[in-house]
C-alpha cells in the first residue's frame, strides 16, 4: 500500500463533500496512510469463493404492508432547516 499523496486526499475530500484546510489535508494524508498500512494483512487471508457478509441477520429485502401511517407534522420537520421560506427549504444556487 503506497502512502496517500496530497492529491489523493483532496480527491477523496471532494468525493465526500468536505472542505479541508491545508493543514488538515497534510495531516490526514499521513494519518490515513498509517491506518491503511495496517490493512495490508488482510490480503494474506484466503477468500476465494467466500460470500461477502453485509449484515448478520441473514434477512433479505424486507417488505412492509402498504398502509399509510400518520406522518410527522410539516412544521415540526421544517423547523430545523437553517434557511426556510414558508413551507420550503431554501438552498444556495445549484447551477454555477
Amino acid at each position: 500500500m503506497k502512502p496517500l499523496t496530497k492529491h489523493d486526499v483532496e480527491h477523496i475530500a471532494k468525493l465526500a463533500y468536505i472542505k479541508l484546510s491545508e493543514k488538515e489535508t497534510d495531516e490526514l494524508g499521513t494519518q490515513l496512510s498509517n491506518i491503511l498500512s495496517h490493512f495490508d494483512s488482510l490480503s494474506s487471508v484466503e477468500t476465494e469463493g467466500i460470500e461477502a457478509t453485509g449484515h448478520t441477520t441473514d434477512s433479505n429485502t424486507v417488505m412492509r404492508s402498504d398502509h399509510p401511517e400518520q406522518p410527522l407534522d410539516q412544521n415540526d420537520v421544517l423547523r430545523n432547516a437553517p434557511d426556510r421560506d414558508g413551507e420550503f427549504v431554501r438552498v444556495r444556487p445549484v447551477l454555477e
Binding site: 472542505k19 491506518i35 457478509t53 448478520t56 434477512s59 410527522l72 432547516a81 437553517p82
Partner: protein
C-alpha cells in the same frame, strides 16, 4: 484520586433495590428523581457526563410514574419511576439531539426513536442526554464537541467511549441505568473503564430506529447498569420487533432473565488465546486469571481455545465501519437541519463548508477512510475483501460455539488511560477495542461486568455468546457477579 469503597447510599442502589424501595413506600420516584437531579448538578462540573439535562420533563414523568406505582394508572414495569439517561445519539422528540457534533447544532428532533418510546411507555424517567464521542466514533469520549467526560474513579482519566457519559453517570450515581450504542465496543469498553455492567445484545434484537446511524450493520443499542439482573430487566423492555428497522429480527422475545439464577456448573467456557494480546497490562491479565479461577470454582469447565482470525478483526472493522459511516453521514448536508452555510455561492460549496466546519477531526478521518475504501478501484481490495473476511470470522465463532456455551475474555487490554494520552495517535486509540470489535463483526451478544481492580481502577470481564444466546450470556455473567463483589465498589466522588 479516588479509592474503592462500598457504599449503600441511595444513589448507588441497583434498579431492583430501588423498585423494592418504591414498593415499600420508602421513597417516591419524584423524590429520587429530585435527589438524582441534585447529584447531577453537583457532579457535572467535574464529570461533564450530560450534554443536556431535562429537569422539568423528568419531574413531570416521575410524578406520572408515582401514580402508576401507587396502582392508579397502568401496571408498572421493572423501569417505572427509575431515573435513566439516554446517549445523545438517540432521537428524542422536542429535546436537543446532537450526537456530540457541531453539525447538529440546535437540532430538535420531531420524533422519538423506538427505544426512547419503549422507555417512556415503561414509565422510565429520562433525566437527559449523555455525552459521547462525536457520532459515537471514539474510545475515550475525547472527540465530543462538548468536551471530554471525566472518569469518576480518577477525573484525570477518560471514561472510555463512545458511551462515556453513560458509563460515568451510572458509575457516579448520576442515574440508575443508562442506554448507549455499541458499534465496536462503545457500551462494553466504557462500562469496563468505569466499573459498571454494559451489554451489547445480539444484532437485530433492539430496534435502531431513531439511533443516529454510524455503522448500520454493526450498531446495536444496549443498557449500562450496576447489576446483571438490572441489565436483563432493561433488555426485556427495549427488545422488540420494529417494522421501522428492516434489520430488526422477529426472534422469540423471551424473558432474558429466565436463566439468571441457573449458575454455570458444568458449562463449557472457552478462553480464546488471541484476546490475551501482546501489550495487555499485567494488572488486566492477573485480574482475568483470578476471574477464571472464580468461574472454575463455580463448576464451569474452562479451557483454552483459538480463534486465529481475531488478528484480522481490527482491519475488517476499520474498513467496514468507516465505509458505512461515510454513507450514513452523507445526510448531514446543512440543508434540512443543523449547521448551514448561508453565504456560499453554490449549493455544493455550502455543503462542503457546513461539513468542513461541522465535523470534528475523527469524524472527518473516518468519512475519508470510508470514502476511499468505497471509491473506484479500491472497492474490491478493501470493502469486499473485508466483508468476505467478516464471513470467515462469523464461521469461526459459529464453530467455536459448537464446543463452548460461552467465551470469556478481558473487555479491554488496558484500564482507563489519561485524558490526552492517545488522542494524537488514531491507531493506538483503535487498539483499545481489539477485544470488543470481533463481537460486532459477528453480530453476537456480549456483556462486560466488573471483574477486578488494577492500580485503583476498574477492570472489565467480557462474556460472549452465540447469536441469540443473550440469556446464556446473562446467565454466566450473573453467576460470576453473585460470586464476586467488584460491582459493589463505587468511586468516592
Amino acid at each position: 484520586m479516588t479509592t474503592q469503597a462500598n457504599n449503600s447510599d441511595l444513589h448507588f442502589a441497583s434498579v431492583r433495590e430501588l423498585q423494592s424501595k418504591f414498593n415499600n413506600r420508602e421513597i417516591s420516584s419524584t423524590e429520587v428523581t429530585k435527589a438524582t437531579l441534585n447529584r447531577i448538578a453537583k457532579l457535572e462540573p467535574r464529570l461533564n457526563a450530560f450534554i443536556t439535562v431535562t429537569p422539568e420533563n423528568a419531574i413531570r414523568d416521575a410524578q406520572q410514574a408515582d401514580e402508576r406505582l401507587l396502582g392508579t394508572g397502568q401496571e408498572p414495569t421493572a423501569l417505572t419511576g427509575v431515573p435513566v439517561m439516554v446517549k445523545d445519539n438517540f432521537s428524542t422528540k422536542d429535546v436537543l439531539t446532537t450526537a456530540a457534533s457541531n453539525i447538529l447544532k440546535g437540532y430538535i428532533p420531531p420524533y422519538d426513536g423506538t427505544v426512547v418510546s419503549l422507555l417512556k411507555q415503561a414509565g422510565a424517567v429520562i433525566l437527559g442526554k449523555g455525552n459521547l464521542d462525536e457520532f459515537a466514533m471514539g474510545s475515550s469520549n475525547e472527540t465530543s464537541a462538548f468536551g471530554p467526560v471525566h472518569n469518576p474513579w480518577d477525573t484525570q482519566r477518560v471514561p472510555g467511549g463512545s458511551s462515556g457519559g453513560a458509563s460515568a453517570a451510572v458509575s457516579a450515581g448520576q442515574c440508575f441505568m443508562a442506554f448507549g450504542s455499541d458499534t465496536g465496543g462503545s457500551i462494553r469498553q466504557p462500562a469496563a473503564f468505569c466499573g459498571v455492567v454494559g451489554m451489547k445484545p445480539t444484532y437485530g434484537l433492539v430496534s435502531r430506529f431513531g439511533l443516529l446511524a454510524f455503522g448500520s450493520s454493526l450498531d446495536q443499542i444496549g443498557p449500562l447498569t450496576r447489576t446483571v439482573a438490572d441489565c436483563s430487566d432493561a433488555l426485556n423492555i427495549i427488545s422488540s420487533h420494529d417494522h421501522r428497522d428492516s434489520t430488526s429480527v422477529k426472534a422469540p422475545f423471551t424473558d432474558f432473565g429466565r436463566e439468571l439464577h441457573m449458575g454455570v456448573d458444568q458449562m463449557n467456557i472457552g478462553v480464546p488465546r488471541e484476546y490475551l494480546v501482546e501489550g495487555i497490562e499485567p494488572g488486566i491479565r492477573s485480574a482475568f486469571e483470578a476471574s477464571l479461577e472464580t468461574l472454575e470454582s463455580l463448576g464451569a469447565n474452562i479451557s483454552e481455545t483459538s480463534l486465529p482470525l481475531t488478528d484480522h478483526a481490527l482491519a475488517v472493522y476499520y474498513i467496514i465501519a468507516p465505509s458505512e459511516a461515510s454513507a450514513n453521514l452523507s445526510r448531514y448536508d446543512g440543508v434540512k437541519y443543523g449547521l448551514g452555510s448561508l453565504n456560499a455561492n453554490t449549493s455544493a460549496e455550502a455543503t462542503q463548508s457546513a461539513r468542513g466546519e461541522g465535523f470534528g477531526d475523527e469524524v472527518k478521518r473516518r468519512i475519508l477512510l470510508g470514502t476511499y475504501a468505497l471509491s473506484a478501484g479500491y472497492y474490491d481490495a478493501f470493502y469486499k475483501k473485508a466483508q468476505q473476511v467478516r464471513t470467515l470470522i462469523r464461521r469461526e465463532f459459529t464453530d467455536s460455539f459448537l464446543k463452548f456455551d460461552a467465551l470469556v475474555t478481558p473487555t479491554s487490554p488496558n484500564v482507563a488511560f489519561k485524558i490526552g494520552e492517545k488522542i494524537n495517535d488514531p491507531f493506538q486509540m483503535y487498539m483499545n477495542d481489539v477485544c470488543t470489535i470481533p463481537v460486532n463483526i459477528a453480530g453476537l451478544p456480549s456483556i462486560s461486568v466488573p471483574g477486578g481492580m488494577s492500580e485503583g481502577l476498574p477492570v472489565g470481564l467480557q462474556f460472549i455468546g452465540p447469536q441469540f444466546g443473550d440469556t446464556t450470556v446473562i446467565r454466566v455473567a450473573a453467576a460470576y457477579q453473585r460470586a464476586t463483589n467488584w460491582h459493589k465498589n463505587h468511586p468516592l466522588i
